[in-house]
C-alpha cells in the first residue's frame, strides 16, 4: 500500500520526461505583465522573474533530470559492474591495480570531483553526463567486486570453468545474474543521488545553460527573489524533493524485498 504514492510520483516524472516534447509547452515564452506573479495568476504554478511559466519550466526540467540520471546510472552501472566483477574474478595484479584506482576515486569527497570535472569540461548536457559517470561507476565497481569475490569459488563457476568457458562468459552468464539484486537496489538509490547532483551542478551554474530550464538553476534564480516571490524557489524544489523522496522510498522497499542485509550476514 505504501508503495503506491512513491510509484505514482515516479510515473508522473517519467511521463513528464517522455511526453514533454509533445506537450504544448513554452518554457521560454515571456509574459511581461506576469513577472513574478504567484500561482493561480494565469498559470498553474505562477511565473518567474522574466515572466515565464513555472509549470512549463518544471516539466522541461523534469526531462533533463530524468534523462541525465537514466544515462548516468546506465553508464555507471554497466561500466562499474563490468570493472568490479572482472577485477574480482581475474584477481592477481589486475585486482590490485583496480582496487587502488577505486580507492583513489573514493578519496574525492562526494560531489567535489564532479564539480571540478564539469567546471573544467565546460557546460553542456554531455559534459554533465561524463562528469557524473566518472564519479558514479566507483560505487558499483566496489559493490560488484565484493559480490563476485564471495561467489567466484562456487561450484557452478568451477563447473563452467571445467567446461572451458572463458572469463567473459563466466562473468556475464554465471556471475552477473547472481549479483544483479544488490546492484539494482544500489542503482535505485543512485538515481536519487544523480537527480540531486545534476540539480546541484545546475545550481552552481555548471550544468545545463540558460535559457533551458533545470530544477537546479531554477532554484538558484528563485533564491534571488525569495522575499518577493518565494514560489520561485518552492516550486522546483518541491518537484525535486518529491522525485528524490519517491525514488529513495522505492529503493528502501526494494532493499527490504530483496533482503540484502540477510544475504550479507551469511
Amino acid at each position: 500500500m505504501r508503495i503506491w504514492g512513491p510509484t505514482a510520483i515516479v510515473v508522473v516524472w517519467l511521463l513528464m520526461a517522455v511526453l514533454g516534447p509533445w506537450l504544448p509547452l513554452a518554457p521560454n515564452h515571456i509574459e511581461l505583465e506576469h513577472i513574478l506573479a504567484g500561482p493561480g495568476s494565469g498559470a498553474l504554478l505562477g511565473f518567474d522573474d522574466l515572466g515565464r511559466s513555472l509549470w512549463d519550466r518544471v516539466v522541461v526540467g523534469a526531462q533533463f533530470s530524468f534523462f541525465v540520471s537514466l544515462l548516468v546510472v546506465s553508464i555507471s552501472l554497466s561500466a562499474g559492474t563490468l570493472i568490479g566483477a572482472s577485477s574480482a574474478y581475474l584477481g592477481g595484479w589486475v585486482d590490485h591495480v583496480i582496487v587502488r584506482i577505486i580507492d583513489i576515486f573514493l578519496a574525492f569527497p562526494g560531489i567535489l570531483l564532479a564539480i571540478a570535472l564539469a567546471g573544467l569540461l565546460g557546460p553542456g548536457l554531455s559534459n554533465i553526463v561524463i562528469a557524473l559517470s566518472i564519479v558514479g561507476w566507483v560505487g558499483f565497481a566496489r559493490l560488484a567486486r565484493a559480490q563476485v569475490l564471495s561467489l567466484r569459488h562456487r561450484e557452478h563457476v568451477q563447473a563452467a570453468q571445467m567446461l572451458g568457458a572463458g572469463p567473459l562468459r563466466i562473468i556475464v552468464r554465471h556471475l552477473l545474474p547472481l549479483i544483479m539484486a544488490p546492484l539494482i537496489v544500489e542503482a535505485t538509490f543512485a538515481i536519487a543521488g544523480i537527480v540531486i547532483a545534476e540539480a546541484g551542478l545546475s545550481f552552481l551554474g555548471l550544468g545545463i545553460q540558460p535559457p533551458t530550464p533545470s530544477w537546479g538553476s531554477m532554484i538558484r534564480d528563485g533564491s534571488r527573489y525569495m522575499l518577493v516571490s518565494p514560489h520561485m524557489v518552492l516550486v522546483p524544489g518541491i518537484a525535486l524533493i518529491l522525485v528524490v523522496l519517491a525514488v529513495n522510498l522505492l529503493g528502501d522497499r526494494l532493499r527490504d524485498r530483496m533482503d540484502i542485509r540477510l544475504r550479507e550476514r551469511k
Binding site: 584506482i101 562526494g110 564539480i115 569540461l121 529513495n248
Partner: protein, 309 residues
C-alpha cells in the same frame, strides 16, 4: 598495532599519490587549449606563450608531472592567474572558514542524530520510531541548495532572527551549519538506530537488565558504547559528503571558504586554483579517514588483532 599503523599509513600515502596525479591530469581534460580557455579567445599569441611557459604546459607531460610533484613536496601550490598571489596564502585565508563550517555541521548532525537514533531504537515500531525515520528519509532527500534558501526564507526574511549570508559573528554560522548538518544527521540517525538495535539483542544487555540496572543506564552506558563503533566508521566516510556539501552550502550563504574559492576559480577559469582547492579538500578527507581508521582500531582491539595475524 605497529604493523596495522604502518599498513594504514602506506595505503594512505598511495591514495595521496594517486589523488595528486588525478588532480594534475584535470587541467589536461579541458577541451581544446587550456591556455586559450583561461585567457579568452581574444588573447595575444605572445601572452599565451608566456602563460604556457609559466604553467610549464610547453614541457613534455612527464616533466610536467615531475615538476608538479616536486612543487607539492615543498608545499608550493603555484600562483593564481587572477590575483597573481600564491595559492597557498589564499588557501590559508579560506581554510579556517571551511573547517569551522564543517565542524559546526558535524556537531549539529551529532546533536540531532544521537537522540533521534537512540529514541527510535528504544521505542522501535512505535509512532515515535516511524516519525524519526520519516524525518531522516526527508533529511536524506533534501539537497543543501534547497534547504539553505528555505532556512534563509524562514529565519532571516520572515522572522528576521539570523543574517542572510556572510561570516561575521556566531549568528551567521547557525544557518549554514544547520543546512550542512541536516543531511548528515539523517544518515547518522539511521545508523545509530540500526547499530543500537543490533546491540540491544546481545547477551550482555540482557545481563545488565537482569542485574536490575535502570533502562537508561543499560541503553546509554552498556549498549550505546558498543553500538558506537560502526557509527564512527560511517561518520568518517560521510565526511566526504560533508566536505562536498560544504562547497554548495558556502555558495548558498556566501561563506568565504575553500568551496566558494573553488567555484569562483571555475567561473574565472583560474585552473591552478581549482586544482589546488580540489587537492586540498580531497587530501583533508583522506587524512581524516585514515585517522578514523586508526581511532577505530584503537577503540576496538578485534580489528587490529585480526589485521596483525
Amino acid at each position: 598495532m605497529l604493523h596495522f599503523l604502518a599498513s594504514r599509513l602506506l595505503s594512505a600515502l598511495l591514495v595521496i599519490f594517486g589523488v595528486s596525479t588525478v588532480v594534475f591530469l584535470l587541467i589536461h581534460i579541458v577541451p581544446g587549449d587550456p591556455v586559450e580557455v583561461m585567457l579568452g579567445e581574444a588573447s595575444q599569441a605572445a601572452d599565451r606563450e608566456a602563460l604556457r611557459h609559466a604553467l610549464g604546459l610547453d614541457l613534455p607531460l612527464w616533466t610536467q608531472l615531475m615538476n608538479y610533484y616536486g612543487h607539492l613536496l615543498q608545499f608550493d601550490l603555484g600562483t593564481s592567474l587572477q590575483s597573481k598571489r600564491p595559492i597557498g596564502d589564499m588557501m590559508l585565508e579560506a581554510l579556517p572558514a571551511t573547517a569551522q563550517l564543517a565542524l559546526a555541521g558535524m556537531v549539529v548532525a551529532m546533536l540531532v542524530a544521537f537522540p533521534l537514533g537512540i529514541l527510535a531504537a528504544v521505542r522501535k515500531d512505535t509512532p515515535l520510531d516511524s516519525g524519526a525515520m520519516a524525518f531522516s528519509m526527508l533529511g536524506i532527500s533534501i539537497p543543501h541548495f534547497w534547504m539553505g534558501p528555505l532556512l534563509i526564507l524562514f529565519f532571516s526574511l520572515w522572522l528576521g532572527w539570523l543574517p542572510v549570508s556572510g561570516r561575521d559573528d556566531w549568528a551567521s554560522l547557525v544557518l549554514p551549519a544547520l543546512t550542512l548538518g541536516t543531511g548528515l544527521a539523517a544518515i547518522l540517525s539511521r545508523m545509530v538506530r540500526a547499530s543500537l538495535l543490533e546491540v540491544l539483542g546481545e547477551d550482555f544487555v540482557r545481563t545488565a537488565r537482569a542485574k536490575g540496572l535502570s533502562e537508561s543506564r543499560v541503553v546509554l552506558r552498556h549498549a550505546l558504547r558498543n553500538a558506537l563503533l560502526p557509527v564512527i566508521t560511517v561518520l568518517g566516510l560521510q565526511l566526504g559528503t560533508l566536505l562536498g556539501g560544504a562547497v554548495i552550502t558556502e555558495i548558498v550563504f556566501s561563506w568565504p571558504g575553500v568551496g566558494q574559492m573553488t567555484i569562483d576559480a571555475i567561473n574565472r577559469r583560474d585552473y591552478p586554483v581549482v586544482q589546488a582547492c580540489v587537492l586540498l579538500i580531497s587530501l583533508s578527507y583522506v587524512g581524516i579517514n585514515t585517522l578514523t581508521d586508526l581511532v577505530y582500531a584503537w577503540l576496538d582491539p578485534r580489528i587490529r588483532l585480526a589485521e596483525d595475524s
